[in-house]
């Protein structure tokens, strides 16, 4: 087994300039990758990911243009949502594939370089710590940043689309260190969304690939200032061989509202961690998710909502559909801190198990240190409702189609609440295809 230090050298060899990269490196030096036995990593196969990382190579540097990526491909994989678009290919910003020209007033998007003039001189160095070893690695790698900055009192009526395309396995120039065979390339995408006080904004972040064994270690930070309303959709649809360890950190000031949806449509191992801190009075967080592992896929959702301030409201609604030998997991954690009042938190995680060999795990957790709360959670695991299936069949609908209808109905609650319509349509099309697949 490769040591953590060697892993770091291998995956983040020279990059990592700047204070944040230093913090990431220091954290990784101290802690390394997470302990596979740690509770938060119980359902993420850390050992398997580590093994893949040991054979992985960093994504190629320097080639800002890709021979395989063009606009129609991006549209097909990630959908087209009519607003500004930032495209990163294998971790690098692609100006020619992005649409950053016609940005409305008050919105600033681009990579770190493009937004350098926006940075206040003498801005304080970051004080936060990485959440875990993968997060630290993301920082240490010091990849290009996708930045979406919204001024105060700005109301955007089109969504900003951030696309991360992985062309691993389909590129021929995997770098001088590349060994033959199925060695994966690793990227460490980092996205920052900051929405100013009183503003309204929507961001769609798509992770897509053209095939091959890629490893994506992503980190997204969403900061909602006082009274901001933010919609954030995360669609993880890398190819079936891909590994994705993702973390979304959401920080909310007083009276802000953030609605975040995560959909995992594919990927061999996908971890979707969402950490929300309700730091200001009266903030509201609505999280939802959908995951459908099939084959031998592992999809793990680890969601924490921390009610640090009073009068917070949070909802979590994650739905799992597990097929074939797939294993889908949900660990939801609501924390209500001592001294807060007026907290309202609800958690739900219904699961559908489609085959005798699939597996669903659910851990809806509540950790409450204050009494003025109303917290509920519910989780179910079961198969399709026999009565409903029979009812549909008795009306002449063939079994496979009836199953597809019921599975789609189960998932619809999450997909139907997605806006904008273009994304909802994109997901509905995918859902339709998938439900037909899993029902036959």
């Amino acid at each position: 087994m490769t040591s953590d230090a060697a892993l770091l050298e291998r995956l983040a060899p020279t990059a990592g300039v700047g204070a944040r990269a230093e913090r990431g490196r220091a954290f990784f030096d101290a802690h390394g990758l997470p302990d596979p036995k740690a509770e938060a990593w119980r359902y993420t196969p850390v050992t398997e990911i580590r093994a893949a990382l040991e054979h992985a190579v960093p994504a190629p540097c320097g080639s800002t243009s890709s021979t395989v990526a063009d606009r129609p491909l991006i549209d097909a994989l990630a959908g087209s949502h009519g607003g500004p678009r930032l495209v990163f290919v294998d971790g690098l910003f692609s100006a020619e594939l992005s649409d950053v020209e016609a940005t409305p007033g008050g919105l600033w998007i681009g990579d770190a370089e493009a937004l350098r003039p926006r940075r206040a001189p003498g801005a304080p160095a970051p004080q936060d710590e990485p959440a875990d070893g993968f997060h630290a690695l993301n920082w240490a790698a010091g990849s290009d940043v996708a930045a979406v900055l919204v001024d105060a009192d700005t109301h955007l009526d089109v969504p900003v689309h951030v696309v991360h395309l992985s062309t691993a396995g389909s590129t021929t120039s995997a770098g001088p260190d590349a060994t033959a065979g199925a060695d994966a390339t690793v990227t460490h995408p980092r996205t920052v969304v900051r929405v100013g006080a009183g503003s309204t904004a929507a961001v769609i972040e798509s992770f897509v690939g053209t095939g091959g064994p890629s490893i994506t270690n992503s980190s997204t930070r969403v900061v909602a200032a006082e009274g901001a309303t933010v919609t954030y959709h995360r669609v993880m649809s890398e190819p079936a061989e891909a590994i994705h360890v993702g973390r979304t950190g959401i920080e909310q000031a007083a009276h802000s509202r953030v609605a975040a949806t995560s959909v995992i449509t594919d990927g061999r191992i996908v971890r979707n961690a969402v950490d929300v801190v309700l730091g200001g009075d009266g903030a509201r967080s609505d999280l939802s998710g959908l995951y459908l592992p099939t084959d031998h896929q592992r999809h793990d959702n680890v969601v924490t909502v921390d009610h640090v301030a009073s009068h917070g409201t949070s909802t979590q609604r994650f739905k799992g559909i597990v097929d074939d030998h797939g294993r889908g997991s949900f660990s939801g954690h609501v924390i209500v801190r001592h001294g807060t009042v007026g907290t309202d938190a609800a958690q739900s995680n219904p699961n559908l198990v489609l085959t005798p060999t699939a597996q669903a795990d659910t851990r809806p957790w509540l950790e409450i240190f204050a009494d003025d709360v109303r917290c509920t959670h519910g989780a179910t695991v079961g198969r399709l409702d026999d009565d409903a299936l029979f009812y549909l069949r008795s009306r002449g609908i063939p079994t496979a189609q009836a199953r597809a209808m019921l599975i789609a109905a189960f998932a619809a609650e999450v997909v139907d609440s997605v806006t904008p319509e273009s994304l909802r349509d994109h997901l509905s099309t995918w859902l339709h295809t998938r439900t037909v697949e899993v029902s036959s």
Partner: protein
Amino acid sequence: MTDVIDGLVEREYAFGFESDIETERAPKGLNEDVIRLISAKKDEPEWLLEWRLAAYRHFITMVEPDWAKVQHPPIDYQDMYYWAAPKPKGPAPKSLDEVDPEIRATFDKLGISLAEQERLTGVAVDAIIDSVSVATTFKAKLAEVGVIFCSFSEAVREHPDLVRKYLGTVVPPRDNFFAALNSAVFTDGSFCFIPAGVTCPMELSTYFRINAKETGQFERTLIIAEEGASVSYLEGCTAPMRDENQLHAAVVELIALDDSSIKYSTVQNWYPGDAEGRGGIYNFVTKRARAGARAKVSWTQVETGSAITWKYPSVILQGDDSVGEFYSVAVTTNLQQADTGTKMIHIGRNTSSTIVSKGISAGRAQNTYRGQVKMLRSAQGARNHTRCDSLLIGSDCGAHTFPYVEVKNDTASVEHEASTSKISEDQLFYCRQRGLNEEDATSMIVNGFCREVFDELPMEYAVEAQALMRLTLEGAVG
């Protein structure tokens, strides 16, 4: 409301007296010699000594678990006594009349009058002080139908084959840190054997009392219900008020063979420590049952005592169509900590389990439900329903719910629901508008909250449990 909370925090422990019973003890500390001494004192066969020593040798390689949401200073396992017994005043008592009057007085004070029990209540009692069983009532009557109910030590002497056949089959000596410790040093406990087809004609009950200072209590209970047998068993526990923490690490094994039924009820009221968190029992207990085909095991617990409670009465649902139930009320006040729940491991087909947990947290206490439901691939058609509710009284306490659900087949169904809230202002106001004072209203609402669990207790203990809850909340006066 503040008054009620203050009252809750200031409640007094009613069983905190200490009896002046002369005690005989093994030397302080834990080593092979102490284990040999315990075994020798009890005149045990060689196999059992070897069993203990093997457990001990494994124990010293283990580390104390740290995953529970409880905090305590490190326990010095060498700084306590592992065996204490009331010193016999002459030969062993032949009947209740010959039991040491001080011991009888102790149980009278606890409301477990051994003599009266025998005459009136029709419940067979095994009374255990510190490490030793001091009296078992109704033995003769039970023997008529073939039921064996005696102290564990007696079972080792009189029924060694049964003990050897079943001991450690549900909770192996290496199962966990505290189970290994118990296996090495357990001193006494209760043994019940219900032969095939027999319905035990009365409730069986064990009353545990810690009396001696600086002494750990490590009892071992083994209940076997043969095919088609049925039994209802209750345990109660108390201890004196002391500034020190005392360790209680028990192991309970239930073997429910095909078509049998075991109902196991606990009213746990070990000394919880004072308002500042000084003293109190560390209650680290392993309780587990194995259910055969169509067997039913039901755990009911009312946990009001102990400084720390760490226990997860579990059922391995091995046989097809077996049923597991867990009904729990856990109350914590002051600085008490409870991390309790259950495990339902579904192996057989069409197995079903029900979990109902009610947690009440007041003062600065931390109350955690931790429960696992596992549906293995073989558990076709298995079902679980879990309901866990927490009630918070006061803004400085905590209530935590940590379920773990793993389902490995598509025919199983699991439903889990939970809620956490403070006592409803609407309910309080409604009661008070009808003339109830705040304390009575609180007590009434809390008892209502726990009703579903109390209903599972045998009648006379349901009354006792409600009285205990009331007592717990009675400090509210003032």
